[in-house]
Subunit: 310 residues, 4 copies
């Protein structure tokens, strides 16, 4: 078990508070320079596109456990083939409406999603979130999320379809995968980490997908992100990090390190199976990644349909 | 006024039913080949990113007129800084939930959004939409929406900030703008058409933004899309096409021509002001466009946060 | 097993189509005359009030099985102690919003809730329900639901806390309970039928509450309602009637007989434990029953918080 | 204008904190004894029923002003005539779902709806409301709301269909109407106050219904409620009290006096037109009033469909 002192020591090491000024709300996304965006475009070779989101429906990954009210989305019709006027030639329209937790399925955690000791990224007070939403560090404050993506396929590295429950994706594991793949992660990259866990969801085993422990990030993984200058990261599981975690008193140490201390948005429930398979074939692990969250203002998260273009 | 016969004649000319097989549900997005996607990446030069969505909130563009229930989104908190465990070191989370029409603000119309004479694209019966949603031609059936984008800046072509109410964006206007810009539209491109109308919304004049007539596509614009092999198109207004239209008996002739006859998804409420300004500076009108709709299954539309990368 | 012919024979016997005119949408609630309402008031002796609804929350009786989207309600805050103005003396408000299926917990089925062979009560076409809701036979068409209530406590009659799974509450059972209780049911009464099944819900066993078979009305119970001139009826379970039913081809024979053929609204998930206990003490089984559904217009059902006043 | 000192003096006079014990959350509803409930039943003479709620729909009274997110309800279908099984004899079901602010139309304000100087009724801290809702003084804590109702028809007293904008319904006005009607208000009664303002809503003039000033309770009306021992009160307007109020620094003095200091729930948007007309004919102003709020747990208000039975 890791102590609070050890946790705080690591936190100090990776801390980005003040790095981009006292008013910054973008955090590590500041590392995505125009040069990085151009590089992302240059990584497109074969023109394949890989959508990375789960379908949003009552069959989504939520099981009723976890955050109260974080249900699967309900979508209903506002109109079905309603004639827009009388007469046989008039068009007819159909429309729909959704009730959906922002974090129901594939999403970004905004920097306001987690607070620690009363504070959020850059020392912004947690109580800047109120019933009107996040007045600071909301999803829209992150700005565009488009960069070069790099897949770190941990499951493939381990030679399995999916990592076993509780497999700890540590800093050293990430570095080893990077090296084995020969896919150097550079400043401004967005790192997608494949554990294979999403297979369970795709196979219809929602409880198996969600129930802990799952293979996930261990507490020191943020050190890797810090060392490489990663702009954002996402995983193919629901909890992002190991639960129970290695730092029991903090409970969600990786959330705190990434969101609060580094100011780095983190993605969950990304589906990386097809992308992983394609990367493995030609051993190209970089791509253009577009992952713009829906701009629900003042939200602590962002629904997103990420797409990798190789 | 255009008669139903004239409308049907144009419809026959641009019809794509059967073109990609009897079971096709992607329509003109089939024109986006890997080669086109590579070309899209090649159009990235300066690495600038332009998000093109309106913010989603109670201050959105809906005014209560139009489709009943197509309100502005409501977002509320599921939790605010809820400690995940006891103890001073435990992380705290915040989460939210939205109620939102799919077509509340920036969105794609799926091919199931409009039917005509009981049919949708490819002759699929309109009654394949029921209370469970669109069992055919739903948004997810469109597949990835990533291609090269081309901006046709009609307002700038006319030398105005925004086109006057009722300005008809015809086939000939589109061709003239394309020529004046020297930005040839090629097969598989997604065309973004700027009227400047979104300025009204950005300036807080919601009624001015919505109330008809607005500058919009005229009935024969789809002929232009057909001739160029356009994969998808979007505008910076709410109605997409002129209302009242030039074909009074059909009421929504452009919707019918694009969605039903061509099988081409169409976007609305795209914000093109910053993109337009940037393109005008260096006269580069092409870019990588990522516009993946949120995958609410069986939906007749798709919330989207499009992004142009130049 | 009961055949369709036998079912149709019973249906003919109890049919009320046309009884209150060709345009009637109230059905048996027409039997609640002012005299009945006065009699209901006269049945109040001790001034005790018994609320009969389940609490509405994420802990409601829905388990995800059954009607897709019939989830437990989600309630969130629109504001928490928001000061209405500046200054230490200004009031502060809190407000909330719900997303709730109309039939999530305690509710009335409106006459439009079920159709049979394309028709609803009084021969009204089923397709008068469309995406805008029930244009005929909506909940509001039922008018006031206030009458004398009579409790038929079947569980107590059988000497058990709750009836065993699959116990068939037949016409003869109802008549026997009525006689044993010496509580004659009269024209215009609303009959509440206690199986004790709601105990399972109150004890936190949601699956036990819902999972079939449960003790419930058997197919010929409507004959009893018809013979007595019952205005409405409600049970303390979720399915109202036996499932699987005795008429496999109709699946929901009691629904069809009550709603479609008699034109009688039916209530579900009423909690009758305290009321049953009180009635048993002094053997008074009649009371004033107020059960006004929330007037969501065009709804096929009605949320309701019924109250018995003894 | 009334000063804060004068307000505080009146508040002290009517204060009920501690009156029913330090843990009480029912406030003046404690005054509804079984004897009062019996008396309510005895007031039923003619057996007429008067539903008092507005219809809940997109045509509700909300205009977009006021509490952000307090929109008109949206109701959509979960299913339309969905066959429950194959075969021509199988029943088909229809179901719906609503998104509705609790205080969208006819409702009770729970005691947690308003706080003052950080406190609610009985000195309970305002911060007992959090993102999970009202952990104290929620609507369900009020218990049953059934009592004798008394209509005070101020508009009829003044000889008008509806009172003019800004008409102050003071303590003296209420006492005068009571005397003129010869309808003594007794301890435990629920008082319904008719201004005629709801006519504007019924006539389709939503802005006229809502826009201030409207005829409403003046700041000292709670003194009348206190003197008579009123259990609850409701009005036929949206704001309940005069806005702008006579106590500018408190802004909502009547809300504070009723909810916070007396512990008395208050109803809004009750429709009293038919009831008023009936009472005027035979000059009977008392009735059984059933007004059970929907039990959404932890809510700061309660949707309700009140019904008067004369």
């Amino acid at each position: 078990m890791v102590t609070v002192d050890q946790f705080d020591e690591l936190a100090s090491k990776i801390d980005n508070w003040g790095r981009w000024g006292p008013d910054d709300e973008r955090g590590t996304l500041n590392l995505v320079t125009p040069e990085v965006v151009v590089k992302a475009a240059r990584s497109v070779v074969s023109g394949e596109t890989f959508p990375l989101a789960m379908g949003l429906s009552l069959d989504g990954p939520q099981t009723g456990a976890g955050v109260p009210g974080r249900i699967n989305p309900v979508r209903t019709m506002l109109g079905i083939n309603v004639p827009i006027a009388e007469g046989e030639h008039a068009a007819a329209w159909s429309d729909d409406v959704v009730y959906s937790p922002v974090q129901a399925a594939t999403h970004w955690d905004a920097l306001s999603h987690v607070s620690h000791r009363g504070l959020m990224y850059n020392g912004i007070p947690a109580d800047s979130i109120d019933s009107s939403g996040a007045t600071r560090l909301a999803m829209e404050a992150a700005g565009p999320i488009v960069s070069r993506g790099v897949l770190l396929d941990v499951a493939r590295y381990e030679g399995v379809d999916r990592l076993p429950p509780g497999y700890p994706v540590t800093r050293d594991v990430l570095a080893a995968v990077e090296q084995a793949q020969d896919s150097p992660v550079e400043e401004g990259d967005i790192v997608l980490i494949r554990t294979g866990q999403a297979r369970r969801f795709l196979e219809g085993d929602k409880n198996g997908y969600r129930n802990r422990p799952v293979p996930a990030l261990d507490w020191d993984a943020p050190l890797y992100f810090h060392e490489r200058g990663v702009a954002a990261t996402a995983t193919d599981n629901m909890s992002f990090e190991l639960l129970p975690s290695s730092v029991p008193e903090v409970v969600l140490p990786v959330h705190v390190l990434c969101l609060v201390r580094m100011g780095m948005v983190q993605g969950q429930n990304f589906v990386l199976e097809d992308l992983g398979a394609a990367c493995a074939v030609d051993r190209r692990y970089t791509f253009h990644l577009g992952a713009m969250p829906e701009p629900f203002l003042r939200s602590t998260g962002g629904m997103v349909h990420p797409v990798a273009v190789r």
